[in-house]
């Protein structure tokens, strides 16, 4: 695999953007500035970015309750997203959706989703659109280890196989569905289950951006070529609790810190880039600084942005009534 300088620059920037967006949200939430339920994905960046770097603008994704990374990586606008978590009228959903429902259909983003597993058939639908209209676009469904046990997910693995849909199943296994370990909740073997539905499946280290990028790239080319659905199992780790406020005592003490020190996905990519010589430490530093000020600026924007008007409550229920 040969990653070029530009791609690496872009990938690194996106990963840092997701990370800093999440860190910022965490701080804002602790200060009590943000309403609603918030699920952060910090730690899992190599997965969403590694996959989305393979996608075209007209490809589709569906995401989860833990969706900031996916939608940022696919191209949601940072400022609009920040406005949305601040519940502002200028937000990407005009303040009606919030953290769990970020969407941008024009960029192929069918939305984060508060219902575990619900994004899976929706992504199959987007894939059916591509197939029916003869487009070469594909769909990616991001879902968690917990969602792997939902009927909607399992049914759709079969349906996607039967209809030979251009769909990548991206299972982000962070080891937990809320407080329940995936080792408890998933019966059998993860890859064999997917293969049992006739879907070629592969595991990849979700902390290693390059490995994700490559594995997803291979699968996506196969899918784009009409090969039907593929299944990618990504081993990832989330740093914060299940949602903001979760003390996460179900994890052994020190696990997070150990992980951050040894297996942080940004750290690993950073080391790779520097070793490859394609970008210098100072370039990465600069990216980081730029991202930080972008995020800061977004927060400023969001704080000042107007709230929805009371009358907005009645709009957009129907296209026509």
């Amino acid at each position: 695999m040969q990653l070029n300088r530009e791609d690496l620059h872009d990938a690194y920037r996106r990963m840092v953007l997701v990370r800093e967006f999440e860190n910022q949200i965490h701080r804002l939430n602790e200060k009590g500035e943000l309403p609603g339920f918030i699920h952060l994905s910090a730690g899992q960046e190599a997965s969403c970015v590694g996959i989305c770097m393979n996608l075209q603008e007209d490809d589709y994704i569906t995401s989860t309750h833990r969706g900031h990374g996916h939608v940022l990586a696919k191209g949601c606008d940072l400022v609009e997203m920040m406005d949305e978590v601040f519940a502002k009228r200028t937000g990407i959903c005009h303040g009606k959706g919030g953290s769990m429902h970020m969407a941008d259909l024009e960029k192929g983003i069918l939305g984060a989703n508060g219902i575990v597993g619900a994004g899976v058939p929706l992504a199959a639908g987007a894939a059916l659109t591509s197939k029916t209209l003869g487009k070469d676009s594909i769909s990616v469904v991001f879902f968690g280890d917990g969602a792997y046990n939902e009927g909607a997910t399992l049914e759709t693995m079969n349906l996607a196989k039967v209809l030979n849909l251009p769909l990548l199943f991206a299972l982000e296994d962070n080891g937990w569905g809320e407080a329940t370990p995936s080792s408890y909740a998933i019966g059998g073997d993860i890859l064999k289950r997917a293969e049992g539905f006739g879907i070629p499946a592969q595991a990849v280290d979700g902390h290693d951006y390059c490995a994700v990028y490559e594995a997803a790239g291979d699968m996506i080319s196969q899918i784009r070529a009409g090969g039907g659905p593929r299944f990618l199992h990504l081993d990832v780790y989330r740093y914060f609790g299940h949602f903001e406020g979760d003390a996460a005592t179900y994890r052994p003490k020190g696990e997070v810190e150990k992980h951050q020190k040894e297996r942080d996905c940004i750290m690993i990519l950073r080391a790779y880039i520097i070793e490859s010589g394609l970008l210098a430490e100072s370039d990465l530093h600069k990216i980081h600084k730029e991202v930080l000020s972008e995020v800061e600026a977004a927060v400023d924007h969001a704080r000042k942005a107007p709230s929805p008007e009371a009358s907005d409550i009645l709009t957009n229920v129907y296209a026509t009534y």
């Binding site: 009606k96 199959a124 639908g125 987007a126 659109t129 229920v317």
Partner: protein, 320 residues
């Protein structure tokens, strides 16, 4: 489908036989409604699915959000339980949750109605459940003419339309023009016009109420019979205007009574046209029980013209 190739059909056995060694278009849906479309449009646009309602209804929802205009068939509305999330939390809410940035040109066709002794899990009329959900449109035609006009409207509409077809009416015969026409939602039709009492109904219940109206006419009771056509949107105006004239309201509905559609109409009138009401509102519905199998019980369960007449007599007698 000829007019727009974004229109697709998706469901279980809507062709019937896809991939098999016998006839590939053997069924055309469990009632043969979509028969022949497979031959004309092929497996790419008339899509037989595995028995996975959550998945194929969700696929239709996702397809509708991304540019197709799917018509999904759920066979029996009783199966809503197997795909309810995609309707309740996805199709109905996408547009609102996403700040208006998406359209959902989706039609879900499904059978409803008792009378075939199909028992508790294949005879329900669950339009009230869907009417309760903001973001959905809910339609139930009362004749072949209405069915065509409302279905074409549904296909061209940009919101999710839940289309109920009473299984007892597939053999109904009626005048249907060959050309395309649409019937707008939320505009009720007057079947009969009379000044003594207003009767509201939907779907097959309209025809059953009409039998009552004919009987009542012999006794010089003149009823306005309103075919509501859609429950959401609902033509509240026409109902209230009629009640302003007649002062009396009877609602006939085949759904369960509690939090049902008859109650819905009654409540609207009791709050918006109270001043005009001269008698209690009468609701003719089944009892609040599951649907029994035995024909004698099922006949007891269903509304019938006699009960409509009794209800009218009751509101006519009030206060006199």
């Amino acid at each position: 489908m000829r007019r727009d190739d974004r229109v697709i059909l998706i469901g279980e056995d809507i062709a019937g036989g896809t991939g098999g060694k016998g006839e590939e278009d053997a069924w055309g849906g469990v009632m043969g409604v979509t028969k022949g479309l497979y031959k004309e449009f092929g497996a790419g646009r008339v899509i037989d699915t595995p028995i996975s309602e959550m998945s194929y209804i969700g696929t239709a929802v996702g397809a509708a959000a991304t540019g197709l205009r799917p018509i999904a068939e759920l066979m029996f509305c009783d199966f809503l339980g197997c795909c309810f999330d995609q309707i309740l939390n996805q199709a109905a809410k996408f547009r609102y949750m996403f700040g208006g940035k998406v359209s959902m040109p989706l039609v879900i066709r499904m059978q409803c109605g008792a009378g075939f002794s199909a028992a508790a899990q294949h005879s329900q009329s669950l339009h009230a459940l869907l009417t309760h959900i903001p973001g959905l449109k809910v339609v139930m035609p009362s004749s072949p003419y209405e069915a065509k006009g409302l279905l074409i409207e549904a296909i061209r509409d940009n919101d999710p339309v839940m289309f109920f077809e009473n299984k007892l009416m597939y053999d109904d015969v009626g005048e249907v023009p060959d050309e395309d026409y649409t019937i707008p939602f939320g505009e009720a039709a007057l079947r009969t016009d009379g000044e003594d009492v207003t009767i509201c109904a939907l779907g097959r219940m309209v025809n059953l109420a009409e039998q009552a109206v004919v009987q009542l006419r012999k006794r010089n009771i003149e009823a306005t019979l309103i075919d509501l056509r859609s429950t959401s949107p609902l033509d509240v105006e026409t109902i209230c205007e009629s009640v302003e004239e007649t002062g009396r309201l009877v609602i006939v509905d085949e759904g369960s009574p509690r939090c049902g559609f008859a109650a819905d109409v009654a409540a609207l009138v009791a709050s918006k046209a109270f001043g005009a009401l001269q008698a209690p509102i009468e609701m003719v519905t089944p009892p609040h029980t599951p649907i029994p199998f035995a024909p004698v019980l099922e006949q007891e369960y269903l509304p019938n013209p006699e009960r409509v007449i009794m209800a009218v007599d009751k509101v006519m007698a009030y206060g006199r």
